[in-house]
Symmetry: C2
Subunit: 211 residues, 2 copies
């Protein structure tokens, strides 16, 4: 059905596509020439947008390399998470995992993208601090979101635990996903890892539990 | 009782003390002057050991800054972990946490130490890659250890999950421990975080679970 919601989705997909393109080019140029070896204008030329449009996407060259998520994307993620409503802590992790997978699938995260980020960071290690800062800021926002939905204080250790679980699952899944011998899709690997984490954190375990 | 085991422990404590001292000095000099602003000899002079002794502790200046664990320490950790024997996956995480806490307490990890590492890394961001490499190598060894004790393949997702849980718990606990307003000890904070992680990963949760 072609309604305004579809229109918003389509526009947001186009924006995401442009943001991804900018990030791809910025990362490649960083890996090739270092952070000071290219200008924002050169990135814009390759992606065929104006300098002014660039700054609608990213506040700086560094941010384009890091690849901050477009605001609209984050808002949609938040809205969907809140709309599901509280269903206890186990559903918090399941909902986060499900939404992240849906997001990754629609954004089309590719192996090459991750490799490019690593090349850029190797050439300019100081970007790693910025990258870690962005990740931390996003984690902080997500923690506040979880606390809001579950109606607990923003510093409740469970809100932090839920996000920590999500971030370690994503990192570990990402690493396995990128292995050349991997044949599974992202979602399968992520659920396998979530099940393993539940297994090792089960409160009661049989005294003889091999394997 | 003064037996040979006590003797070994005493010697290993002295070695750990020297290693920690070398790392403290190397980190401070890195933060002050950068990686190429000082020599191994200068570190040795401050700690009052010979250049030759230095290389018994660390293969390079970078390793001294990163602060690799002495081999003997790691071996003791492994021995203790294996000696406890398999008791199912829940005990894997509990045993790891308990041994790490014991290790931290005997090594005397201080707030200042962590701050010094951060200063050194800010001055020389490329060390971060080396640091991450060391951490990853240590994680890999620990994963093999867990797989051995639980009698599963080295790539069993549960072995990785157990180590991932441990590393995220340590990171999160470390961050809270270092906050100026913190009044809890490391062990209390770590157990609080472990309980929170178990709560959010409980397989069954009541449909109305607030707060």
């Amino acid at each position: 059905m072609m309604n305004s919601a579809t229109e918003v989705t389509r526009r947001s997909q186009k924006m995401r596509h442009t943001a991804t393109h900018l990030t791809t080019v910025a990362r490649r140029l960083t890996a090739e020439r270092g952070l000071n070896g290219f200008t924002v204008e050169e990135v814009c030329d390759e992606v065929d947008i104006s300098r002014r449009t660039f700054f609608n996407y990213f506040p700086s060259k560094e941010d384009a390399i890091i690849g901050v998520q477009p605001e609209e994307d984050l808002r949609r993620f938040s809205d969907e998470f809140l709309a599901r409503g509280s269903g206890g802590w186990a559903t918090v992790v399941d909902d986060l995992v499900e939404l992240v997978i849906a997001h990754f699938e629609s954004a089309g995260v590719h192996t090459a993208e991750h490799a490019q980020l690593m090349s850029a960071l190797e050439r300019e290690p100081k970007l790693l601090f910025k990258f870690m800062g962005v990740t931390r800021e996003r984690d902080r926002q997500a923690m506040a979101l979880v606390a809001q939905r579950e109606n607990v204080a923003v510093d409740d250790p469970r809100a932090e635990a839920a996000l920590n679980v999500l971030s370690i699952l994503l990192r570990s899944t990402g690493e396995h996903y990128l292995l050349s011998e991997n044949t599974h899709d992202f979602s399968t690997l992520l659920h396998e890892r979530l099940a393993a984490m539940r297994a090792v954190l089960a409160p009661e375990s049989p005294r003889k539990g091999n394997p």
